[in-house]
């Protein structure tokens, strides 16, 4: 068995090594794949805060991913067309600057998470899963029929947005940006897990009534976790949109919410690096299997099934020989 710290170190090193190797070998697409994996991993790290620590099985995290994406899409669209976004009482200029877009994405998705969390946290268990799914579907259908921003066609942004001092169109530079953001999210998860807040949240997942009887409010803990989680996933959404230079309602789809959960479970629920391993493996499978057969979903399904049935605790669970938190 291997210690989790070593695995974490290896994973991060591997994550960094692959694109650098690809750069040396002049394989820019491998860098793009690594970027995709790191952005998906970051979205799942966000979900892992709510799910892995707080036990909140949200099947609606695509809402925040999509809001982050549309924050990018709408701001860049207005900058692209040189028309301010007119809200009636306030006109907002578009922006092509990533920092501005990121702040917007984080703010918007945090606010949405606050609202959805307030309403959804009244329920528990399957009802929570389903009410978050319902919110996801509302956003999905709304975005499809909202023609001002492309509806189902989505919004194309022809040139990737800028970051001061970087040329974001160069794959390795954009990878660096996304990888840094992923590391920041991981750092947040790590510190938060050890902090008083994380400890209380973790206890609230296991024994909410104990948390109450020591004078803490488990609802508020969970709500804050949901907001932080939504904000991180929202930021990942903005990066994902910039990676593709495109946003569309599929970012709101329930399948995407499901995929984020899949990523976490493959790696290991509640583990710091669970989502990272999951995303790396998922992106690799998608490409390897996708090339072998048109029917690769069958094999993906079979692999997922094996993981659930025989590898409780995900890959990190297998490698460390320790079960993860139970959600």
């Amino acid at each position: 068995m291997i210690g989790e710290r070593y695995i974490n170190g290896l994973v991060l090193a591997g994550f960094l090594a692959v694109p650098i190797w690809a750069l040396a070998m002049d394989e820019p697409f491998t860098i793009t794949l690594a970027t995709r994996a790191s952005v998906l991993a970051m979205a799942a790290v966000g979900l892992n805060i709510a799910l892995g620590i707080g036990g909140l099985v949200s099947l609606g995290h695509a809402v925040f991913f999509g809001l982050g994406g549309y924050a990018m899409g709408i701001l860049a669209h207005h900058a692209q067309t040189h028309a301010a976004l007119d809200l009636g009482f306030l006109a907002i200029e578009g922006s092509r600057s990533m920092p501005v877009i990121w702040i917007t994405a984080v703010t918007v998705s945090a606010l949405a998470a606050l609202l959805i969390g307030l309403l959804s946290l009244r329920t528990t268990g399957v009802y929570f899963i389903m009410i978050t799914l319902a919110f996801g579907q509302m956003f999905f259908f709304f975005s499809i029929s909202w023609s001002a921003y492309g509806g189902e066609d989505g919004l194309s942004i022809y040139v990737r947005n800028g970051f001061p001092g970087l040329d974001t169109l160069v794959p390795i530079q954009f990878f660096g940006l996304c990888f840094t953001a992923l590391c920041a999210a991981l750092l947040l998860h790590w510190r938060l897990r050890a902090s008083p807040f994380g400890m209380a949240l973790n206890a609230a997942r296991q024994v909410p009534r104990r948390v109450e009887t020591v004078g803490l409010n488990p609802m508020r803990l969970k709500l804050l976790a949901f907001v932080v989680s939504g904000a991180v996933t929202g930021l990942a959404g903005a990066l994902f949109a910039d990676l593709n230079r495109f946003v569309s309602p599929t970012m709101f789809s329930w399948q995407l919410s499901g995929e984020l959960i899949v990523l976490i479970i493959i790696g290991g629920v509640g583990r710091l690096m669970g989502p990272v391993i999951g995303a790396a493996l998922f992106v690799a499978l998608e490409h390897f299997l996708g090339g072998l057969t048109d029917f690769w979903h069958v094999w993906l399904g079979a692999i997922l099934l094996l993981i659930v049935l025989f590898a409780r605790g995900g890959l990190i669970g297998i490698l460390t020989g320790k079960d993860g938190p139970r959600v």
């Binding site: 099947l59 009244r122 009802y127 009410i131 319902a134 919110f135 509302m138 259908f141 029929s145 399904g301």
Partner: protein
């Protein structure tokens, strides 16, 4: 808008709701008895429709097609229960969600592997096709009336089965207490397989019945699955009565919302904008209904209180 049109739309909503009930009943039974979230229920719906289309294509008989749908879905359900589901009863909801999500992938692409990428043909039998005149001058398709009848029949049978028969008593006992029912000498794992197969057969039946007026294609199960979940959550998970009322609520909301919301917006908007806004809102209507119900009653209309 005339009264006839309104009545016709209400009938449409009822028919849609009754079909949803066939899906939701199995789902809620499986959750209530075994505590399992089965995302793959939509795949069993698809299996039923494909089996019906294949058999109808080969034999030309709609009745045989329905029997095939029931049998194929029940078989698929039994196999899935024994191979996979059985290991998930004590697992966390999260594991159940993932495992049955994986089953969807396997079923969908597996079906495409076998039947190809194009939709299959399944039609209404001649003796049920065409409209009939109802009192009041309403012309309504006979087949849809038959669907309402079939759905209500199944609902009554289910009620009878769960409240009046030995197996129903076992099922209800199993909901409350695994140990007690095991102590009664009932083979719990056989009971579970049976309940799962029964739920699967209902889903397969729904798939075949609906397949005759819709498109029999890969992926047809997922939209219905989501709506069925909405139904059982609104009704309260585990409650057959809740599933029935939830089905009708969702069916009526979806149908009437789609018709009347655009009309409503026409009162204060121009026609084009009203139809678009109205339809956008209509597509969200059932989800709004569900969140309102859950916010008001966090365990659904007839769910058990925590």
């Amino acid at each position: 808008m005339s009264a006839i049109l309104i009545i016709e739309q209400v009938l449409n909503g009822l028919q849609f709701g009754v079909m949803l009930f066939l899906m939701a009943a199995g789902l809620t039974l499986i959750f209530g008895v075994m505590g399992l979230i089965n995302l793959a229920h939509g795949s069993l719906y698809m299996v039923g429709a494909f089996a019906a289309a294949a058999v109808a294509g080969a034999t030309g008989s709609f009745v045989l097609a329905l029997i095939a749908a029931l049998a194929a879905a029940a078989c698929a359900g039994t196999i899935v229960e024994i191979v996979v589901i059985r290991r998930l009863y004590r697992a966390a909801h999260l594991d159940q969600v993932l495992a049955t999500f994986a089953l969807i992938l396997i079923f969908s692409e597996g079906t495409r592997w076998v039947f190809g990428s194009f939709p299959l043909f399944l039609d209404i039998p001649d003796y049920l096709s065409g409209p009939i005149a109802l009192p009041g001058g309403i012309e309504y398709p006979l087949y849809r009336l038959a669907l309402i009848g079939a759905g209500v029949l199944v609902a009554v049978e289910l009620w009878w089965l769960t409240s009046r028969t030995r197996i129903g008593i076992q099922i209800r006992a199993g909901e409350n207490d695994r140990e007690m029912i095991a102590a009664l000498g009932v083979d719990i794992s056989r009971l579970y397989t049976l309940v799962f197969a029964m739920g699967a057969a209902l889903a397969g039946l729904a798939g075949a019945l609906v397949g005759a007026i819709q498109s029999v294609q890969v992926g047809m199960g997922e939209p219905v699955l989501i709506l069925a979940f909405v139904v059982i959550v609104i009704g309260g998970i585990g409650s057959i009565k809740g599933a029935f009322i939830g089905s009708l609520l969702v069916g009526l909301t979806d149908t009437l919302g789609g018709v009347f919301l655009p009309e409503l917006f026409k009162v204060f908007m121009d026609v084009g904008a009203a139809t678009q806004t109205g339809s956008a809102l209509a597509s969200m209507a059932v989800y709004i209904l569900m969140s309102v119900v859950l916010i008001w009653r966090p365990t659904g209309l007839f769910g058990m209180r925590a």
